[in-house]
């Protein structure tokens, strides 16, 4: 039988611990209660926001409507922006009908809203949205100018046409299809991408090899990416770039970087951290320029032909261009090699700005006086 002293100590300990245990349980319950209250508040705020947006979107009065694309697409706006939107709609209508052709009917039911952008002072900006089920989504901000609004209308229409048509190129492009023609900057960027790539096929593509271009742009499947996309130097460069991240076995990595190509091949075939290097090198931007080249080659109705072609991505590009894919690639290669060969270091604008400031500051210095 335990001694009375021991029992009293034990009893005292239980009595002292009981409130603590109870307090801890009470803290946990209190915490859970507060958490539940916070979650309920957040859900209430979210519901209120959604209801507010529904209310304001429905209450937004668009007094003016314009139909374009054979009356398939409706553009609604407020009176403030009617002149700008009307002018933009005319421009966009020409583009949409020229490129979409008989497919513009797929835009039937599309409603685009153009209203003031309240974050920009002086009604200098607009918000362009797609209206669906009473809500305005896919909002885009733009200056309140004809060209800016027209570009967005064209871009939206093109995207919707491609989506309706189930075009395979949409996924291949990885980003949207630009509506503008290629600029010197675009070609310079493509050229830099090709010549600075660690893959052999990108540089071979730049040199004029059409199958290499098809592979690097993801139009054909490379059977053995490790051997077909890279040479020994390129494989070593890939390993050397990731070695300091510590994801590769040190011994094998060191031997590869030292020149043992077999080790490099083994690493690239077996290490998941290097699988990114086995994907086709050509970026979304490079692919977009090829598609833009095809559309430029094909002229009016290019998007229409693209949509109506139900083949592979290569077939769609050829259909848009109205010529074989190889011809499109040849044109693309030529622009990539020769397009935009000029430096960003100097331009007439830079010269004019600099000379203007020199003259202004010179005048200030000359007209200044030492007399107070």
């Amino acid at each position: 039988m335990p001694s009375p002293r021991y029992l009293s100590i034990l009893a005292t300990a239980v009595i002292l611990a009981a409130p603590g245990a109870g307090a801890r349980a009470q803290d946990t319950r209190e915490l859970a209660r507060r958490l539940d209250a916070a979650v309920a508040l957040r859900e209430k705020a979210t519901a209120t926001l959604v209801a507010y947006r529904r209310q304001t979107d429905v209450a937004q009065v668009y007094s003016d409507t314009i139909r374009i694309a054979d009356r398939a697409m409706l553009v609604v706006t407020t009176g403030d922006f009617l002149p700008v939107v009307r002018a933009a709609a005319v421009t966009a209508d020409t583009f949409i009908r020229r490129s979409g052709g008989s497919q513009v009917g797929a835009l039937r039911g599309t409603v685009v809203t153009v209203r003031v952008d309240t974050t920009v002072p002086g009604k200098a900006g607009v918000v362009i949205s797609l209206r669906s089920n009473g809500l305005e989504g896919a909002q885009e901000q733009a200056p309140a100018s004809r060209d800016a609004v027209a570009k967005i209308l064209e871009s939206r229409a093109q995207e919707l046409l491609l989506a309706h048509g189930g075009v395979r190129s949409r996924e291949w492009l990885t980003g949207g299809l630009p509506i503008d023609t290629m600029t010197d900057s675009d070609w310079r960027a493509v050229r830099l991408e090709m010549v600075s790539s660690p893959t052999t096929i990108a540089r071979t593509c730049y040199g004029g090899d059409i199958p290499a271009c098809k592979a690097t742009l993801g139009l054909t499947v490379v059977q053995d990416p490790v051997m077909d996309m890279y040479d020994a130097e390129g494989r070593r460069a890939v390993i050397a770039r990731v070695r300091h991240f510590g994801q590769l076995a040190r011994g094998t990595t060191d031997r590869c970087v030292a020149g043992d190509d077999a080790q490099c091949i083994n690493l690239m075939r077996t290490n998941a951290a290097l699988f990114y290097a086995l994907a086709p090198e050509g970026s979304g931007h490079a692919r977009a320029t090829l598609m833009q080249q095809a559309i430029a080659d094909g002229g009016p109705g290019a998007i229409e032909r693209l949509i109506m072609s139900k083949g592979s991505v290569s077939d769609e590009i050829a259909a848009a261009a109205r010529e074989p894919l190889d011809s499109v690639i040849v044109h693309w290669q030529r622009h990539a090699r020769l397009g935009g060969i000029k430096s960003d270091d100097f331009s007439p604008a830079i010269a004019a700005i600099a000379i203007g400031w020199i003259l202004a500051l010179g005048a200030v210095a000359v007209r200044g006086s030492r007399w107070r």
């Binding site: 310079r188 960027a189 050229r191 830099l192 090709m194 010549v195 600075s196 790539s197 660690p198 540089r203 730049y206 040199g207 130097e233 390129g234 070593r236 460069a237 890939v238 050397a240 770039r241 970087v257 090699r337 060969i341 000029k342 430096s343 960003d344 270091d345 100097f346 604008a349 830079i350 010269a351 700005i353 600099a354 000379i355 203007g356 400031w357 020199i358 500051l361 010179g362 200030v364 210095a365 000359v366 007209r367 200044g368 006086s369 030492r370 107070r372």
Partner: protein, 217 residues
Amino acid sequence: MAVQWKWSRWAVLAVTVVGFGIPIASVKAIAGSPAEYSNFGSRAAQVVAVMQGFGMAYALLAAGAGLAIALLAWSSDHRGRHVYALSLPVARSRYAAMRFGSGALFLLLPTVGVLAGTLIAVLIAPIPSGLHGYPIALTLRFMLSSAVAYSIFFAIAASTPKAAGGVLGAIAAVLVVAFLLSAASVEFNLLSYLGGLVFSEPGLLSVFTGRWMLIDA
């Protein structure tokens, strides 16, 4: 002009030598063994990266050249409190214009140095296929940048201490206002806004921003 050359010649010659050396140094940096560009993935990527790194050197040299020549143009007058200059039978405006013109001419020497360096560099550099050398464009940008820097510092040096104090006071006031706006949690970045005005076209220092690439795509 002869007298001003006497004051400025060593600075001009130093800048000229440095201007000649930067392009040569940038080319030497890329003329290595293949193993040295493995970290970049390709020779072309290495060249572009190295040229981007050296681009800052041209901009700093242009600013430094303008500063040095502008301050040297007025240093002797400042020491003599402009007594001699004001005692000459020449209008103040004409005197300042002559100083300004002389200093601007001296900037041609560093420009020639940069031109010579870039031309030689492009000739000896192993430029990969797809990249091109732009020695003339780079030299023109250097010339304009150094002239803008020279104009700025010449105008400040030619002004009265009161005017110079006004400029400094304005800069200090901007910093104070920016601090107060930040402390008041006002969502307006004054420094960023003013920086955009100054460094973006057609701002005063826009010629210093952008790409300074001797070899590019």
